[in-house]
Symmetry: C2
Subunit: 160 residues, 2 copies
DNA sequence: CGGTACCGTTAGTGTCACTAACGTTCTCGG
DNA sequence: CCGAGAACGTTAGTGACACTAACGGTACCG
């Protein structure tokens, strides 16, 4: 008889996480991020996409075409990883990769019409997923959370 | 001349992250968690410790001795990874690992006096690190952040 | 007694952020 | 003009992490 997918940490009975742990912001962040990442990754996978597809498409839409290195800087994806992401995006015709005639080191990446459609679709998908992620919070609380996170992130990125 | 440690995404000039990305809670969480994890991991490394050492010691201190599987459930560390963590903790004499006479499948793990000292030390280290992590926020805001995160995490763990 | 479940342990997977090194191409100071 | 250094795209690899699979051994329950 097929068992129910193992589940090694099933959170059954009395989990009893120590309070010291429960209150540490660092732990809350990493635990929650694991869940959040899984939620988003799975949701995007259902739409045949990955987080980085969205990041690149969004960057192209908002700031126009650019070289791979430039996209890398805009989106926070390392240029070594950008290669594969762009391979996937060109495969799907969401993006066009053409050599820059003015600088033969560069490729110029352009979003396609289909890419723009896809971006709109992914925006909807992500809206829904965030609704699920932030379900327990009121709109005001969601806003507050986002503002707090932005302040923290800004603080730790400018001074890196 | 020796260059300044590469730094492949140096955030130089005009990074221009697309707004779509900047506002997504999922992205904020994962970006911030990368920074937070690095901060904590490096800080603990300076004290010859790792996050999991703290988690296990805290769990032992608050709920008393237990089997490896039980510690695993309390701390969220998989029991396959618990083995290595306990090896490190016993090496450092912070913890004692003894077979359970009443159930020969189990090991009973007990915190040592030295382990309790270490836990107090790590608590201080983590306090300082969290001060750094949450530096831009007022005490009230830190509290609010923690409360929001707890609510989200609880929501996504009970219904897992 | 026999099946099922739990124990500790070993090994392995996939993802992610990140580094190193390459050959090529551009830039710029001397 | 040319030569050093930097930026580009690309390939390969690292280490940490969450998680799965399978094992031999042990306990529990009908």
């Amino acid at each position: 008889m097929i068992r129910d997918e193992a589940a090694d940490l099933p959170d059954g009975g009395a989990p009893k996480t120590p309070d010291r742990l429960r209150r540490r912001a660092s732990r809350l962040l990493s635990q929650l991020t694991v869940r959040s990442d899984r939620l988003i990754t799975e949701g995007l996978a259902r739409a045949d996409a990955r987080k980085w597809h969205y990041a690149v498409l969004a960057s192209l839409q908002e700031f126009g075409p650019g070289s791979q290195a430039e996209l890398s800087r805009r989106s926070g994806i390392y240029r070594s990883d950008m290669v594969g992401v762009l391979n996937e995006l060109t495969e799907r015709d969401l993006v066009e990769r053409a050599p820059d005639p003015d600088d033969r080191r560069r490729n110029i990446i352009t979003i396609s019409a289909q890419g723009r459609r896809r971006l709109r679709r992914l925006d909807k998908v992500l809206d829904d997923l965030h609704d699920e992620l932030l379900a327990p919070l009121s709109p005001a609380e969601r806003d507050q959370l986002v503002r707090l996170l932005i302040r923290l992130l800004d603080h730790h990125t400018q001074s890196s």
